[in-house]
């Protein structure tokens, strides 16, 4: 039975989240099937990337501030957190998190009389998202901390001369300047976090009912056809599109952060390579 390409898209377009045809194609693979299924897997890469970055942004700000604190009781834990997540491979972090989450009692735990179900934490959508969130928060915190340290002294003195102190100085001067200075590096972090989402189904977290990400399906096709020259370039193509979209979006934010500056001293976003964390 051969399907037209449009029928394939209808059958497999949302396969990665369990909608549509249940059985994956097993023989006579067409280019259309590969494009559709791998594209369907991108839903997961976008899901992990967007949620981890959004939540991670807030934690990163908190950690960056904690790292800047004078009180060692606040500063030390933040430094350790960043060290542990930046100093070890994300791959190992995924494994470790999975093994730790599996050890939670299967039936759930009772805390203060409330029954908590724990089975869902070992699923990729929750467990892997948690790891990615903690991981990106550590990397971003380091970026924001560096930016916080490089705020020009004159800016802070000017703020004080205007009578801004404490919280007001922070929210009106330090925080916006920190974001502006750190934004180009943070853009790179966002791109590479999206790239890191491809590790999810290759380490620790199993894919249930063959619901996986783009690389999971590309690997499926490469295993079945023994031909890596079609599926992997397809994932590569999707990721180039995703990278362009991320660069565009973060570029808009960067423009907004730099809007008050003369055009020659605005900070530009430059792509800098960073591999697997």
């Amino acid at each position: 039975m051969s399907m037209t390409c449009w029928e394939t898209v209808q059958a497999y377009g949302l396969r990665s989240i369990g909608i549509g045809e249940n059985l994956l194609p097993r023989s006579d693979f067409t280019l259309c099937q590969q494009l559709t299924l791998i594209g369907s897997g991108m839903i997961w890469n976008i899901y992990f990337g967007v949620l981890a970055l959004t939540a991670g942004f807030f934690l990163a700000n908190a950690i960056a501030l904690a790292r800047n604190a004078r009180n060692p009781l606040i500063r030390k834990p933040a430094e350790w957190y960043v060290f542990v997540f930046r100093g070890s491979p994300l791959f190992i972090q995924f494994f470790l998190a999975y093994e730790a989450l599996v050890l939670l009692p299967k039936g759930g735990v009772d805390i203060l009389g409330i029954h908590l179900n724990t089975a869902w934490t070992t699923r990729a959508w929750a467990g892997a998202l948690l790891v990615l969130f903690l991981n990106t928060a550590a990397y971003s915190a380091e970026i924001f901390h560096g930016a916080l340290k490089s705020i020009p002294k004159g800016d802070l003195e000017a703020a004080e001369a205007y009578g801004l102190t404490g919280w007001k100085k922070f929210i009106r001067i330090e925080w916006p300047t920190m974001l502006r200075l750190g934004w180009p590096a943070y853009t790179n972090e966002a791109i590479f976090l999206f790239h890191a989402t491809t590790l999810v189904f290759f380490s620790g977290f199993p894919a249930f009912a063959q619901k996986g990400d783009a690389l999971y399906y590309a690997n499926y096709f490469a295993d079945k056809t023994f031909n890596p020259f079609i599926p992997y370039p397809i994932v590569a193509f999707y990721f180039i599109l995703l990278t362009l979209a991320v660069t565009f979006f973060y570029g808009r934010v960067n423009r907004h952060l730099n809007r008050h500056l003369p055009s020659n001293i605005r900070s530009k976003i430059r792509l800098r390579p960073q591999l697997i964390r």
Partner: protein, 292 residues
Amino acid sequence: MFEACADPKAIEGMTWTACYLTSAKHIDFYWSFLTVLLLLLITAPAALGMGFLGATAARSHIPPVSWIGKVYIWMVRGVPDIIFFLFFVIALDQAIEYSKSLMVCPSHEWPWQGLEFRVCPEAKVPLAKSAPFWHQAYGFFLAVVTFAIVFGAFVANVIFGAMNAVPRAQLETAEAYGMSRRQVFRRILIPQMWVYALPGLGNLWMILIKATPLLFLLGVKDIVYYARELGGSKTQAYEYPHGDWRLYYFLGLMVFYLVFTRISEIGISKLTRRLSHGQATAGGEAVRRAAA
């Protein structure tokens, strides 16, 4: 290993632990750490060489050569590197077996027939009857080449940037002294570019360390493989039965990596200080002031 370990079921406590940690499989596990170090030891210079070639090619005045260099540098941007890892390992294997088949096979069929890659048995690398060691060694070799290609592109990017960062005046002065293009490259550009390349290279070294668990994905029996094997729960059928200890084994790996990256960090900062000596940069100025 020890006399007392002859009957593991009869012993307990510290002796059990000592025997357990020195079992044959654990010794293999400890050796696999050397596999990781060996990979780093081979890959780092290989990637440096590839990167150097790539950057030099990208700077070339002959357009096709410079395009090749630039495409190589841009290749790994925008695409997750793990895709390259998975791709190159199969692609290289098939390229090697296909070229071998052209030489040793009686008939030269197109190897991608239907859903398989088929070459005659004599063209298999390694041959099906080879010892398991050669299969492991070949897998490791493919992994090393893949690492060198992918990391070489990243190194090329760093070195290309560093070469452009060497002040123009330095090169022009050398030209004014009558040095040829080759001499300027060797005597002025190369010695000066390292200090600009070092922060990027140091960063890449850390990333390379953290990329070594990928060996597991490439099918090499590395530390991740053994941690999963040894940690998995063992029934009474095994010599040393225990529950699911994978968490502890992975904690061990985590500590190994943390220590390794921390030591590297300290080493890199020392190297930076040494290379800054006598350089016309802020770092070099700091070294001069400290000495005075």
